[in-house]
Point group: C2
Chain length 185, copies 2
């Protein structure tokens, strides 16, 4: 059986159809939980073929939302690390606070329905975005700037923005810049 890894084969087409269906459903039903069955129906594939690739709907939704984020919002390249991080953090704060962040909305809606007692899936859906951030940090190091690890950027700039959004507390551009300054200084 080599079907699973053949590029452009049936498995690749199923993956593509599932991610497209999830992206469309997220756009239509902003902030509402989505089920595997709904994605399968929209994609025209069997739910079992989705569970072969994703442990639960949260993992599928996260992969689709991160894919959309990367297509629509490339990381900035301003010539300095502080400039890059501030431009990114300000935009993220604005999007999350205004309810326009597909990623945050989808994660929140589906984190809750992933439900009590479930183990973390162990998936790392942010990894592709993490590689973009890593490239940004690498550019800074090539300019001889000191740059933190990717995990610190996510934990100490993105995470506080997410937490404030969960609590409905304000998180504006100034706050985003303060998080960047604290990280760098």
């Amino acid at each position: 059986m080599t079907v699973r890894s053949r590029p452009g084969g049936r498995t690749a087409r199923t993956k593509e159809a599932a991610l497209e269906a999830a992206t469309a459903l997220m756009a239509e039903r902003k902030g509402e939980a989505i089920t595997m069955a709904e994605v399968a129906e929209r994609a025209g594939v069997a739910p079992t073929s989705l569970y072969r690739r994703w442990p639960d709907v949260r993992a599928l939704i996260a992969e689709a939302a991160v894919g959309q984020l990367m297509r629509e919002q490339p990381m900035p390249d301003t010539g300095s690390l502080r400039g890059d991080l501030c431009a990114w953090a300000r935009a993220a704060a604005q999007q999350i606070a205004s309810g326009e962040s597909v990623l945050f909305q989808a994660l929140a809606a589906n984190a809750a329905s992933a439900g009590a007692g479930r183990k973390a899936s162990g998936a790392e859906p942010l990894q592709p975005r993490g590689r973009q951030i890593a490239a940004m940090l690498e550019r800074a190091r090539e300019r001889a700037e000191a740059a933190p690890p990717v995990a610190d950027v996510l934990d100490h700039v993105l995470a506080p923005l997410y937490m404030r959004a969960l609590f409905g507390a304000p998180a504006d551009a100034d706050y985003a810049e303060k998080l960047v300054d604290r990280l760098l200084g």
Copy 2:
């Protein structure tokens, strides 16, 4: 009209009934969004009297969940700041990851339904917990330990645990301790 501020008056009873109803609904419907109308019905009060106190259901849910958290999980008092922060962060990580955190579940379920385009409510539902944390930090200062501001504890220890839970990524006790060590420098 002095009804709003009279202790034990009708307004106080409405508030109490609403918080009790919200707490009961959260326990029954873990991870599902709750509406103001449902809380009002359960509490036996008019929805309009809830909107007088809370701008949206998220603010009400957050106040109820923080109240429950404070009753059920007092902040630790181990004799050292690092000990206190580690005990708290380890317990928070375990609860959030296992889906037992009423606060996280309720916030996630209702953040999404708070919906696109809504402004942040400006509410600070974590404030009562913040005061408990502030007292813990004050005890440390009285022992002549250096202690960070409350906001840094929330942004740089609690927020990364929340973000990992949103992504279904693992966040265990070791990770929680690493966040504390980084905060304390």
